[in-house]
């Protein structure tokens, strides 16, 4: 009882002292020094601790101190929080100044341009790019040069740098056409004069934007129409839906008057069971498998597609 009381007393004393000192201790080292205080107060009563607990106790304190030392090192380096890029509002009636400002924000944020440009060694520094852009490729205007560099960065590489920039309208950057126009305005302003407006047409404006957002079959996708589904699953690549023209596969514009629901279902799920005359077997099955159609398609989608195909009656039907 005496030994235990002594240990408890010293523990209380250590708690009291470390509590009293807590405001004086540097924030990062508070825990480290607190443990040291406990160790200091444990020394006089060390002999009272049961022998079997001594080694584990020393190891525990040692582990805590080494861990806290590394934690302290972690606090010594510069501390900064990196926030996800903020959305920049783009309006169709933006002035040039507003475009430059929006472009700058995108350049530093969502566009992640600063990651590589501006540090000098690995990618070109863009400090005078507004001026240089006019002379980089002969026959190109600066806007044409910028748009090609942003949409097809690997097409022209500035010497002696190596390729490595991703197209900015695709994931993970995924800027919209409008956002790209503002980035061009900002780039023009670096050593030059911005001429681009929100109405400027770029040759890439027909290209689809792949927004880097989710990916899972959502409620919306479940609710897609048959027309949307045959487009999404690439059927339009081989079949014509609006004329009797033959493509890689037979035209489906009158499929609803040639087949019943069960046959259409079979043609989709087991395309090699019945082959339309004059077409090679195995092609459709292999294509759909390669596209992951059979892994992705849901029962509901399949039903929608079959219903849609059944509605295609050709010239007689509509």
């Amino acid at each position: 009882v005496k030994k235990l009381s002594a240990i408890v007393l010293m523990l209380l004393l250590a708690t009291f002292v470390s509590w009293g000192l807590r405001t004086l201790l540097p924030n990062n080292l508070e825990l480290f020094i607190t443990i040291l205080i406990y160790v200091l107060f444990a020394v006089p009563v060390w002999g009272y601790f049961p022998e079997s607990t001594r080694v584990p106790l020393i190891i525990l304190v040692f582990t805590a101190q080494v861990t806290l030392f590394y934690n302290y090192v972690g606090q010594l380096v510069p501390q900064s929080v990196i926030y996800p890029p903020e959305d920049v509002k783009i309006g169709a009636d933006m002035t040039t100044e507003q475009m430059v400002e929006a472009g700058r924000k995108l350049y530093e944020g969502k566009g992640t341009c600063l990651n590589c440009h501006g540090t000098g060694a690995r990618f070109p520094d863009l400090v005078d790019i507004g001026q240089l852009a006019r002379t980089r490729i002969s026959g190109y205007t600066d806007v044409e040069y910028f748009s090609e560099s942003l949409y097809e960065p690997d097409k022209f590489i500035v010497e002696p740098f190596a390729p490595g920039m991703p197209p900015v309208h695709k994931p993970p950057i995924g800027l919209t056409h409008e956002e790209i126009l503002t980035v061009i305005a900002y780039l023009q302003s670096l050593g030059g004069t911005p001429t681009v407006t929100m109405k400027t047409e770029l040759k890439y404006h027909d290209e689809p934007i792949s927004a880097p957002v989710v990916a899972v079959a959502s409620e919306d996708e479940e609710d897609q129409t048959g027309e949307q589904l045959v487009a999404a699953y690439g059927c339009l690549g081989c079949h014509s839906f609006d004329s009797p023209d033959r493509m890689l596969g037979p035209s489906l514009y009158d499929i609803g008057s040639r087949m019943n629901k069960a046959e259409i279902y079979e043609s989709l799920m087991e395309p090699d069971e019945v082959i339309a005359e004059g077409y090679p077997p195995g092609v459709m099955g292999a294509t759909l498998t390669a596209m992951g159609f059979y892994d992705k398609v849901t029962t509901k989608q399949l039903k929608t597609m079959v219903d849609y195909l059944m509605s295609l009656k050709g010239d007689n039907g509509t």
């Binding site: 861990t67 380096v77 929080v81 990196i82 920039m165 989710v214 992705k296």
Partner: protein, 659 residues
């Protein structure tokens, strides 16, 4: 086996839950940890909760995968040498496995649960991509449980060969499990096998993505290093609590073996890390720049300090270990020089390229970079420092190894094998040199950037030339020895001189490439680290070869006095284990944090309130807490493992015997 059943059940429930979550994707994306588990209040966010649990699962899994690797190797050594000591050691390591395996499974189940509860949409997406692999994973998991428990409980019950085969099966299945899980993890950083909308095209491609194999290799090696360090810590724990000299001798030896495994596995780790970094750059320059040049660049300074500490403790342990070797005192004089070199290299490696400074200090320096030290903060200097560090640690080991040996010539020795090895190496490297001479100029001089690329060419040719000279020196040693087999002194001096020459020329070459690196662009500088490393590896190989030949049949000046170790040496082992664990936590953070505000880079954005990347200080605190929890778990494992050696409780026995 109960834990395995529980895990199986939990995973099945989690899978069902994932399908449920998948169906609900339109409704719930995230749940707050503080609302699901209000125990910790608002302090623990969903991200921190899943971070800590994932890291704990990784720590335990790394240990569970690593221990069977060296247990099997040690068991095999015991089988081959018929030395029971090794068999006992392998069993002692294996004793740590069964509880660790249950804990790993438990944390794996908690992690799965938390993923689907806190991140239902993201969890649902992962299961939509990797669903088929989950079942393989489960199957392998049962396989591992079967092998592990048969290996452990079947110790001494089967013929040695059958038991070794069981160990081999355990390792193969364990590695396969890790490879599958690595596919899920690496997919998040470098997704593949999906279309632009994120829909899966090929599960195999999704698993075998860009960073998959580098992570596999990196984790495989790192697991061995980590497992060795923890096993050494177990040896140290038992050593400190040992009652008899015999126990002390045994656990001292166990600690030494564990530490040896840890350090040997640790040495190639930086190179596996470089490969991973290179693949990250190859996948996305943007990711690469975020890793090395962006917000994470200071993390590598913390890493440098941790690795420097590891080198220091590894060397200190070897130097302290010389105290138990009669005859090693003759090398004591070298230690101070080795320490000086290590400290210089450590300082160079931990030098940041820019310095935190007040505006006045910055204006005095002319920027945030110090006018002199800025040259030490770049890759050229750091690569040079780490290569010299490796060589220095290797010298410490060489001195330790020689401690109680005195080389004597054995006239009956046959040299045909070493001569054959040296000859084959010479031919191999000559062919290699011929290849470079023929192939490299084509890309080195034909492109527009002739000067920098030719630097690369020259550095490769330089390495090959160095290697050839080193092999030539080694072959001189082999032939000199066979001709002069009657003498004892002449070839020992000769051999030592050759080893010294190889060391000096390797260090000179490493430093030369380091300085040359300042004159060339980054891309070439990165490439030039390869010849630098090759020269270090070749040096270690050839010097070891000469050493083995020189000390074959050596006169032993006294047996190693196992157990005659100062207690501080055992704290070195703890220090190494804690440092490894902390380092692993830190690197786990950067591997995952690198994606910043993405769950799956470029595919699924993190739109939760935790999407920001926290400060390094905050990350360090989370890592520290995780490390402490892990060591509490490790203490539990150690305690349980030590129970098996205790006597059964006997109520009728007198109290002092019972205890």
């Amino acid at each position: 086996l109960r834990s395995v059943k529980i895990l199986g059940l939990l995973l099945v429930v989690a899978l069902i839950n994932s399908q449920f979550a998948f169906a609900q994707t339109g409704e719930i994306e995230y749940r707050e940890f503080s609302k699901v588990f209000p125990l910790f209040g608002d302090k623990v966010t969903s991200r921190v909760a899943i971070w800590v649990v994932a890291q704990l699962h990784l720590y335990l899994a790394a240990f569970v995968l690593a221990v069977p690797m060296f247990a099997l190797i040690i068991e095999f050594i015991g089988f081959a040498t018929k030395d029971k000591k090794y068999d006992k050691l392998a069993y002692e390591f294996t004793k740590l496995l069964s509880v660790s395996f249950s804990l790993t499974a438990t944390f794996g189940a908690i992690l799965t649960f938390m993923l689907f509860i806190l991140y239902p949409k993201f969890g649902g997406y992962l299961s939509s991509v990797f669903g088929p692999s989950f079942f393989w994973y489960l199957l392998l998991f049962f396989g591992e449980a079967g092998f592990l428990y048969t290996y452990y409980y079947g110790w001494g019950k089967f013929s040695p060969k059958v038991h070794l085969l069981l160990g081999l099966g355990l390792n193969i299945v364990g590695t396969a499990i890790m490879f599958i899980a690595n596919g899920w993890v690496t997919f998040m950083t470098s997704p593949a096998g999906i279309d632009e909308a994120g829909q899966v095209i090929s599960v195999v491609e999704a698993i075998m993505n860009y960073t998959w194999m580098p992570i596999n290799i990196h984790r495989l090696i790192a697991n061995v290093a980590f497992g060795g360090a923890i096993a050494a810590a177990y040896g140290a724990y038992k050593f400190l609590g040992a009652k008899t000299d015999e126990q002390r001798a045994y656990y001292d030896w166990m600690g030494y073996i564990g530490n040896f495994i840890a350090i040997v596995a640790f040495l190639p780790l930086p190179f596996a890390g470089y490969w991973l970094g290179k693949e990250i750059y190859a996948y996305s320059q943007n990711l690469g720049m975020t890793l090395m040049g962006g917000g994470f660049s200071w993390l590598f300074i913390i890493q440098a300090i941790l690795i420097g500490m590891l080198f220091l403790s590894a060397n200190l342990y070897l130097w302290l270990g010389m105290g138990r070797i009669p005859g090693a005192e003759r090398f004591r004089g070298f230690i101070k020089y080795l320490l000086i070199v290590i400290m210089i290299c450590f300082a160079v490696w931990a030098t940041p390229s820019s310095i935190l400074a007040t505006p006045e200090e910055s204006s005095l320096m002319g920027g945030t970079q110090h006018p002199v030290f800025k040259f030490l903060g770049v890759m050229s200097a750091k690569n040079t420092a780490v290569n010299v560090l490796i060589l220095t640690t290797y010298i410490s080991f060489l001195l330790y190894r020689r401690g109680n040996k005195q080389a004597v010539a054995n006239p009956n020795q046959s040299h045909s094998l070493p001569q054959f090895v040296v000859l084959s190496l010479s031919i191999g490297f000559s062919l290699w040199m011929a290849y470079y001479s023929w192939a490299l100029p084509e890309f080195a001089f034909s492109s527009e950037a002739t000067v920098p690329t030719s630097a690369l060419y020259l550095s490769y040719i330089g390495t090959v030339a160095f290697v050839l000279v080193a092999i030539f020196m080694a072959s001189m040693f082999v032939s000199a020895k066979s001709e002069n087999s009657q003498g004892t002194v002449s070839w020992v001096h000769f051999g030592n001189s050759l080893q010294f020459l190889i060391f000096v020329s390797a260090i000179a070459y490493v430093v030369f490439i380091g300085i040359y690196g300042y004159l060339v662009p980054t891309r070439i500088r990165i490439e030039m680290s390869v010849p630098q490393v090759i020269s270090v590896i070749v040096t270690m190989f050839l010097v070891t070869l000469i050493d083995i030949l020189m000390f074959r049949g050596a006169k032993i000046t006294g047996g190693i006095k196992w157990g005659k170790m100062r207690a501080i040496s055992q704290y070195c082992l703890f220090f190494t284990a804690i440092t490894f664990t902390w380092l692993m936590g830190l690197m786990g953070y950067v591997r995952s944090g690198l994606r910043q505000h993405w769950h799956v880079y470029g595919v699924i954005r993190d739109t939760s309130p935790d999407a920001y990347t926290p400060t390094l200080g905050y990350a360090s605190s989370v890592v520290s807490v995780t490390v402490m929890i892990f060591f509490v778990l490790v203490a539990f494992v150690f305690w349980l493992a030590s129970l098996s050696g205790k006597k059964n409780f006997d109520e009728t026995a007198p109290k002092e015997i019972r205890m």
